[in-house]
């Protein structure tokens, strides 16, 4: 019995370490970043387009728009390809092929972001420059690279959602005379709706958080992007580019950017959580 008690205490200690470690990070980021947002003013920080840290101007609006633009583009690819492939894998793909495709897609997830960025620079950017114009370093390039990077996330969670749909739904629909495709898009996808949306939301979270690949292909200008071919800088790129040398208010501004990202992820996660709860309830 004594040993059991000791083990319980040890585990509790580990849990406490984990929780305090994570709490310290959260507290640190807010402590370093929040005062600056107050000092500069929330409206100025979020809506001003002047990012000139050496002169004391901390407006991250262009970076916010940059992150949104790049993420939106990435999700356009992520949703179409991700949900499409997930549907294929669960409804129309023979098991032998699934055994090959699924690990292959997981492999996509393992490729380092710097390799994706590199391929973007070597293949995608010149292509865009020669055939579409501009310098090639653009929202478009970043969207395509990010879109590919979030595919494994979207696919695997959508597959889980589709596989969780009770078999009777499928069989009932077929029994009523529907084709597999009609069953898929009218019944299965509908039933897995919350899970698929959760997959997309988590994919969005990944896209917003990506740094290295974006730095390599997006151009990193501090101007507001005006078209998909404009170069752009995202919130995460901004942090990565400047944190090595930022000091004082400048560094605090980067932490403040971190606060914004933190809040965004929190909102996205809450939404995804609520959706999967609804899915769990609906399946009853």
């Amino acid at each position: 019995m004594r040993r059991e008690k000791l083990i319980a205490v040890a585990l509790a200690a580990l849990a406490l370490t984990a929780v305090s470690g994570l709490a310290v990070i959260t507290a640190f980021i807010f402590k370093e970043g929040f005062p600056l947002m107050v000092k500069v003013g929330f409206k100025e920080f979020i809506f001003s387009s002047e990012w000139y840290p050496r002169e004391g101007h901390f407006g991250i609006f262009p970076m916010i728009v940059g992150s949104l633009a790049v993420t939106a583009g990435a999700m356009a690819i992520g949703v179409v390809f991700g949900v499409g492939v997930a549907v294929l894998l669960t409804q129309f793909c023979p098991p032998r092929l699934v055994a090959i495709l699924k690990p292959a897609i997981e492999l996509l997830a393992g490729i380092p972001s710097v390799v994706y960025g590199f391929m973007g620079v070597v293949v995608l950017v010149p292509f865009i420059r020669e055939h579409l114009g501009g310098s090639g370093f653009s929202v478009l390039a970043a969207s395509i690279v990010l879109g590919i990077m979030v595919l494994p996330t979207v696919i695997s969670i959508s597959v889980d959602a589709l596989q969780a749909v009770p078999r009777p739904y499928y069989e009932g629909s077929i029994a009523l005379g529907a084709t597999e495709w009609q069953t898929t898009h009218m019944v299965m996808v509908r039933a897995a709706r919350s899970g698929i949306i959760a997959a997309v939301i988590l994919g969005m979270g990944r896209a917003i958080g990506e740094t290295m690949a974006v730095i390599m292909v997006a151009g990193n200008t501090i101007a507001l992007p005006t078209s998909p071919l404009s170069a752009v800088r995202t919130l995460t790129s901004n942090i990565a580019l400047e944190m090595g040398y930022a000091a004082g208010d400048h560094r605090a501004a980067l932490f403040a950017t971190g606060v914004i990202l933190f809040l965004v992820i929190m909102v996205l996660n809450t939404a995804a959580l609520a959706l999967s709860r609804r899915r769990a309830k609906g399946a009853r």
Binding site: V19, T26, V85, I111, F118, G258
Partner: protein, 279 residues
């Protein structure tokens, strides 16, 4: 207007989805083939065992392999027991309530936080405030914090997936809680837990920005925990950005890809092995 029949629609839809899948796999194959095609010819035993010379234009990547092993390995070594222990505690020892829900939500959120934020924290907290400097230790601690939430999450999911009946039977046979946890729950959840840890290793190896700002980018072999070092993915990044030796860059990328492939295969094999044992 002639309507397209349902069978025809199905064929179109399925055809479209197969195209999407083909494109997806095509991209994957293209990336791997491109890197390996350009990099494999330059790989040699010498490349793997020598140190870089002349700004990385010549020589090999031995210190980078060691650095990656130390930083990523130490990071996961720290995070895995803490993460697994936390998951076990949350599911088996603590009653389900507000606190556990909050911890779970917190872990979920932090699993989604961009890794650059961990890098920023690590740089200011470990490197500067705690005075560890750009070092293996700073890098490993930062990576540990980064993968901790993911390990907690995946371990927890794996443990919760173990049917309740298993636990009840174990208690019914007179086991203590810890015996039940180790001999029944963990055995069953092992595939999922292992996948989580392997994913963490993969993520640590691929991480670049956070490592650059905490472990630094020194070319030499790290002789202690407090030496700065350069991991493999960071070396590839620097080589490709400085443009001094594209052949070495491709070769480094090839090693990276091969390592990732190996880890994925290992994960796959481990999962099947553990899943088979559970039968």
């Amino acid at each position: 207007m002639r309507r397209i029949g349902p069978a025809h629609t199905q064929r179109l839809a399925v055809g479209f989805m197969w195209t999407l899948a083909a494109l997806t796999i095509g991209v994957l194959l293209f990336i791997i083939a491109f890197i390996l095609w350009k990099g494999l010819p330059h790989l040699s035993w010498g490349f793997l065992s020598e140190s870089p010379r002349s700004m990385g234009r010549e020589g090999g990547i031995f210190p980078m392999l060691v650095a990656t092993l130390y930083v990523a390995g130490l990071g996961v070594l720290i995070a895995a027991p803490i993460g697994l222990g936390t998951a076990i505690y949350l599911t088996e020892y603590k009653r389900e309530g507000r606190l556990t829900a909050v911890i779970r939500f917190g872990a979920d959120c932090l699993a989604g936080i961009p890794s650059i934020i961990f890098g920023l924290f690590g740089f200011v907290f470990f490197v500067i405030t705690l005075g560890m400097g750009l070092s293996v230790l700073s890098g490993a601690l930062t990576l540990a914090l980064m993968v901790l939430p993911t390990i907690i999450r995946t371990s927890e999911e794996a443990i919760r997936a173990v049917p309740r009946a298993y636990r009840d039977v174990s208690f019914g046979l007179g086991s203590t809680r810890w015996q039940m946890v180790t001999r029944v729950v963990l055995r069953t959840a092992l595939p999922g837990i292992t996948t989580g840890i392997v994913l963490a290793v993969g993520r640590s190896i691929s991480e670049t920005a956070a490592v650059m700002l905490t472990a630094g980018s020194a070319l030499g072999l790290p002789r202690s925990l407090f030496d700065s070092c350069r991991t493999l993915s960071l070396h590839f990044y620097i080589l490709s950005r400085e443009g001094l030796s594209m052949t070495n860059a491709y070769a480094t990328a090839s090693i990276l890809i091969i390592v990732i492939l190996a880890i994925n295969l290992l994960a796959y094999w481990l999962m099947r092995r553990f899943a088979a044992r559970v039968r």
